[in-house]
């Protein structure tokens, strides 16, 4: 058999199964100590329940009256299969960072084809470590691998079903996986009741017994479904996969069992959503400028908040900070039952985005090209990257998240001879127009200029002649081209402590226009 020495040039498929038990329950953000049961909508039996409920004696598949009599404070909720599917889709979007071939196994699992990814991640153990590290703590996760999809799934589910969970079955070789399967007791294979009974009657106790069954004669006795299952288990028949495809827009939600009454309570559930969003953006090399939040209330109509940023962004840290600042400026109209995050406008990530400091960007581009990508480069956390790419738009973005755009200005030098226009301010959203005015021109146009300019000249008394510094008057008689003509004689004025810039206009009126700061 060539399983033991996998051919290095021809990568064999290797399946990693991610088992997320009780997705629906965990999506509710229930406090640890709250007994809660999720009921099967058809027969109202307990499908999933919190550890507090289990301690009170509630068990899976228990009828609701029994459960309530055991635990009177039990809260119940009907399972929503559609929501459950969405949750699994969300997990798949998240898992897309580890593999592009993902099979959906509703309601609780994902198959990831990772045989081709091992080299990138530096081996199976390193990959699984990344997965665990990146997985948000409130999603319990069990992982197992095998070249045969069904084996990986059984091993992962087995881990999830016993306490304490045994070590993960992580092996790239067929032999090891099969050995592990052989050791599994029949009762832990999560087979449908009739199959289990039929197999027990035949004396099957473990996985080893299962694999030893002569399949050809069993179809009539056990039904073709079970035989197909057994064929898939031994790898004689391929597993049918429902392949996951990345959606073209990003939409995720968080449901709350207890209504959220404060804005701070929204930050915590937003984190995993934004983290998934950042992963989504990274995989497709996209950036965004607008986030749409929908808050669902019990009585009132939904609240829609749309947060637009100054520049395009794709990093988790920044998205979180920006969203947080924006939230701080909002008020909650009513407690929130559900939070939805939707983004449907993207722009490809470009190294040369509209930038306040293009020269810096070039340096960084050179720098990043020199540094060779290492095994964990796709996972460089953005916080670590922040020091390398001192992205100056980040500051603008952060400030604009709290301020109005007109509160932020950049200074601009123009060749206009009128003081009001020579020192202009510019909207920061505009890209920078380099000033092409030479230093000698400035020197000639503005000898002895003050450092501060009043936005508009303010009328003042005729100054005491002894205060004027006589050797430096400057005549400005200009502005004919746009009918904002000025005719002024500027003086420097010394009041003892302060030195002011004043002028006399054609009507002999005096104005204060600046300070020699």
């Amino acid at each position: 058999m060539d399983f033991q020495q996998p051919n290095r040039h021809k990568t064999h498929p290797l399946w990693l199964y991610l088992y997320f038990p009780d997705l629906f329950l965990h999506s509710l953000h229930v406090p640890e100590n709250q007994p809660l049961a999720v009921l099967n909508p058809a027969d109202h039996r307990v499908r999933q329940c919190t550890s507090a409920a289990i301690q009170a004696g509630v068990d899976i598949d228990m009828a609701l009256p029994t459960a309530l009599s055991l635990c009177p404070s039990l809260e119940t909720l009907l399972l929503e299969p559609l929501q459950e599917q969405k949750l699994l889709q969300q997990r798949a979007v998240w898992a897309y960072q580890f593999s592009a071939r993902i099979g959906l196994d509703t309601p609780h699992g994902l198959w990831l084809e990772v045989g081709t990814m091992l080299k990138l991640f530096g081996g199976l153990d390193a990959l699984v470590e990344q997965i665990r590290w990146r997985n948000h703590a409130h999603w319990p996760l069990f992982v197992a691998s095998s070249p045969i999809p069904l084996q990986a799934r059984l091993l992962a589910q087995y881990q999830g079903s016993i306490e304490p969970a045994p070590l993960a079955f992580l092996s790239a070789s067929q032999d090891q996986a099969t050995t592990a399967i052989k050791a599994l007791p029949l009762s832990h294979l999560l087979l449908p009741e009739p199959w289990q009974l039929a197999l027990q009657r035949m004396g099957v106790k473990t996985g080893a017994d299962l694999l030893r069954l002569p399949l050809s004669g069993l179809a009539t006795r056990l039904g073709s479904d079970l035989v197909d299952w057994l064929r898939r288990l031994s790898g004689q028949q391929p597993q049918d996969m429902v392949w996951f495809e990345l959606p073209t827009r990003f939409e995720q939600q968080a449901l709350f069992v207890q209504e959220v009454e404060h804005l701070n309570g929204l930050i915590f559930p937003l984190r995993p959503l934004l983290s998934a969003l950042a992963g989504f953006l990274q995989q497709r090399q996209l950036t965004l400028r607008t986030l749409n939040l929908t808050l669902v209330h019990r009585h009132q109509a939904d609240t829609h908040w749309s947060f637009s940023f100054a520049t395009f962004e794709h990093r988790f840290d920044e998205l979180l900070a920006l969203t947080r600042y924006r939230l701080e400026r909002q008020t909650l109209p009513e407690p929130v039952l559900e939070l939805r995050l939707l983004v449907d406008e993207f722009r490809p990530l470009q190294p040369s985005q509209t930038d306040s400091f293009p020269e810096l960007r070039r340096e960084q581009a050179n720098h990043s090209r020199q540094s060779t990508p290492n095994s964990d480069s796709p996972f460089t956390p953005s916080s670590a990257a922040r020091f390398e790419r001192s992205d100056n738009d980040t500051l603008l973005n952060r400030l604009l998240a709290r301020l109005e755009p007109e509160q932020l200005q950049r200074l601009k030098l123009t060749p206009d001879p009128r003081p009001e226009y020579a020192s202009d301010t510019e909207d920061i959203a505009l890209s920078l127009s380099a000033s092409l005015i030479s230093a000698t021109d400035i020197q000639r146009a503005w000898p002895n200029a003050p450092l501060w300019l009043l936005p508009a000249p303010s009328r003042c008394h005729t100054p005491d002649a002894t205060w004027l510094i006589p050797r430096m008057p400057m005549r400005k008689s200009t502005g004919w081209w746009d009918h904002r003509v000025i005719q002024r004689d500027y003086y420097r004025l010394d009041t003892g402590q302060q030195q002011l810039w004043v002028f006399r206009d054609a009507h002999n009126r005096w104005f204060l226009h600046g300070f020699y700061g």
Binding site: Q407, W446, A449, L453, D494, Q498, Q499, L500, F515, Y516
Partner: protein
């Protein structure tokens, strides 16, 4: 500067309680930033930049502006030379591909004059906060972001706790920070590392060419005496 003495108006109490009293006084002094300890000073591992004025460099511990330390500047009215003092430093800092943030400037900086002093005008970013709280937030955020070479602030309120926060933020990223408190000088002490007073000289003949500077507080040395600096001898920082 006088230190709290052991026996001032507590002559009839036990030595232990006198000591606790002294300790409390001391911590109060430290809080106010009036006390510096030998082992704390001067941390010259910080980048130091010449002020561009030899007279001022001599007076500053380390021989110039130290990155990561807050400096408060006091003056009487606008036009007292309060910005002239900074021109060489801003000229040097603005060459970096980072912002120089002006928070709540009392008027518009006159771009031609800044350009004449060698300042890269395009890197000047101005914020007009609606409240004191917002001003402090902008300054902290800007310093922590690491995207500013310097943060300048004109604060119309002055609270020690906020100055301390700014001082911490400045230290974190080694950002330069200059403040022009619009509140007048509070002699009860400040967490800022430097406090200086700038104004025009009394001598009529020197008004155009000189500035009078006094270091009211400098971390690492005792306060100094007023001195004159010649703005014509300004050189690049």
């Amino acid at each position: 500067m006088k230190l709290p003495s052991l026996d001032h108006h507590h002559s009839n109490i036990s030595p232990e309680s006198a000591l606790t009293e002294t300790a409390r006084d001391l911590s109060q002094w430290m809080d106010q930033g009036n006390l510096w300890q030998g082992h704390q000073t001067p941390n010259l591992t910080r980048p130091v930049m010449s002020t561009g004025y030899d007279e001022l460099d001599k007076e500053l511990p380390g021989g110039g502006w130290q990155a990561g330390l807050v400096c408060e500047m006091y003056h009487q009215g606008m036009g007292a030379g309060e910005l002239t003092l900074l021109l060489p430093a801003l000229a040097a800092l603005s060459q970096q591909s980072r912002w120089v943030l002006w928070v709540a400037p009392p008027a518009r900086p006159f771009a031609p004059a800044l350009a004449q002093a060698g300042i890269e005008v395009n890197h000047m970013l101005m914020v007009h906060p609606r409240s004191y709280k917002e001003a402090i937030w902008c300054m902290e955020e800007a310093m922590r972001s690491g995207h500013c070479s310097a943060v300048l602030g004109w604060l119309w309120e002055w609270r020690k706790s906020h100055i301390r926060r700014l001082q911490l933020a400045a230290t974190e990223q080694n950002c330069h920070c200059w403040l022009w408190p619009q509140t007048g000088y509070d002699p009860s002490g400040s967490p800022a590392a430097f406090r200086l007073k700038v104004g025009r000289p009394v001598e009529m003949a020197q008004r155009q060419t000189h500035l009078q500077v006094e270091l009211l507080k400098r971390r690492g040395r005792w306060p100094g005496k007023p001195f004159l600096l010649d703005t014509r001898t300004r050189h690049s920082a």
